[in-house]
Amino acid sequence: MEIAKLTDVTRVYTVGEVETHALRGVDLTIGKEEFTTLVGPSGSGKTTLLQLLGCLDMPTAGKVLINGQDATGMNRNERADLRKGTIGFIFQFYALVPTLTAYENVELPLLLIGKKNNHKARVMELLDAVGITDRAEHRPDQMSGGQQQRVAVARALASDPLLILADEPTANLDTENGEQVMEIMKKLNQETGTTFVFATHDPRVIKYAKRVVTLEDGKIIKDEAK
């Protein structure tokens, strides 16, 4: 089953009179329960591809289907609606809301999709899954980088999305924390069937991947299952 399908996708950024071709005619299909890594040198188009998969950005040409819905041409609010409950994000810089506790950060996607009640069990279950229940009432500035990234993983899973996109999730973590976060995501992938797509340079991430898609100069040059 296809979670996401990109067909002949091009993304050109224009700054002044300078055009930068971030993606050049990319075709990519992401299936259910995949644990896929996008790799490639800086500027190869990994992050742009991830943003298109996440409907944060729109292609200059080509088509983006997410869970069967054509996201191409959707406005900001329609894309926000599509993301809610379908796509979760994990960012390189943890990206927790600094004024909210770990519990509240994980709860936030549930509130945004309009779930009013019975959050507690779900949030605590997720915090338990990432091994951070004892930090539930702590704010981001009271937690280490590894702890914050675990909260970010729990938050990405909160609305039970079909697809989780992670941009350099271990880039700011030491080896031990990086391994722990990857182990958690691998376990969740196996237990819940949630699809994960990573953009990374990090060999620690690549070694966990079931599929590695290699980009260079905005094109997919290799797509191999492991």
């Binding site: 990206a95 600094p98 909210l100 945004l112």
Partner: protein
Amino acid sequence: MNYILKMSFRNLARNKRRSFFSALAVAIGTALLLFMSATMRGEMRGSLDLTINLRTGHLQIHTEDYKDENMSLKRVDMIEAPLDISKQIEDIAQVKAASPRLNASGIIAFKNETIGIQIIGIDPSSAANIIYQEGLVEGEYLRADDREGVLIGLPLAESLNMKPGDTIDLIINTSEGETDEQRFTVRGIYTTDTPGYDKATIFMPLEKAQTITRTENYASMIYILLHEMDDTAAVKEAIQAPGYIVEDWEEMNKLIILVEKLSNAMMFFFNLMVLGVTSTVIMNTLLMAVYERTREMGILGALGMKAKQVKALFLTEATLLAIGGVLVGLAIGVPLVLYYAQVGFFFGDMGISGGSSFMIGNSIYPYPTFGDVISVSIAALLITILSGYYPASQAAKLEPVDALHSNN
């Protein structure tokens, strides 16, 4: 919506000092507007009260040709048998006092000084003139049968270094177009706390004023005070008589009413200026917040927060600042206004002349109203919330993909 409120609260708490000073700007603006509107209202109200109590009364009867500013002493311009008419009017239940007055112009000579003044002949026993008895600071009040005594205003007495018992010469116009000069004794010194009026007005018993001006059994007007101002129209209707004109306080105080309207218009622009400064502070605070939290807006957008929810977040922050600021403003402003409404501001002589139709006392007593508190609060709330609209719109416009790449 609760999570928006919670996040807004905590966002304001992030930078407590900045939020405090922003709310303080709203508070100072609110307190200032409340104070100014109460002071302006008090000034206008005080001026109208003084002018009614000292010069015009609630109602005034005079002949068709009498002009107050000319102080005509021709019998044809004056009211005959004024005491009889006054007594009839006093029988009306709504009337507090009705009393004849005779206005004449003259010159006071004391030692080597001469000063132009207005002489008013009054019935000392009438309740209409009790204000002068109550305002006596030295000496005695007038008696109706006193043939030589006058009451002098405190500023005039001070400027001429005069005291009760001193003798003065008065040169007074008469109905025959001539002048008469007589010697009087200062019986007492009064004050109405209206320097412009007190330094230019001398009182003597009506009968003596009639004698010296050759207008026996005549008066310039019947001066009428009512128990309730609201009864003006009814009493005016009841005392109409052929050959006489009855003027009410509104007709006689057109200038004050005009100035009050003008001051209300000025207050509107003053309010706009104060609230404009306040809203600029709030707008600046929230724009700074949008700038500082750009990446966070990207994260929230990526999580599925819609533009209208982002806008609601910033508008809620503006609303919280507005509510906090207005409450503190009221907590400062209301007690301050109530205190000064009791003790007043002393300004002294503002240089308004005695002949002016605009009486201003030496103190201003702010007059707060519940309506002012409500309207100032609503205006401050609305302007502050509206000032958050532009920053909120800017935040809502941010595309998550761009915001996520921001360094802030």
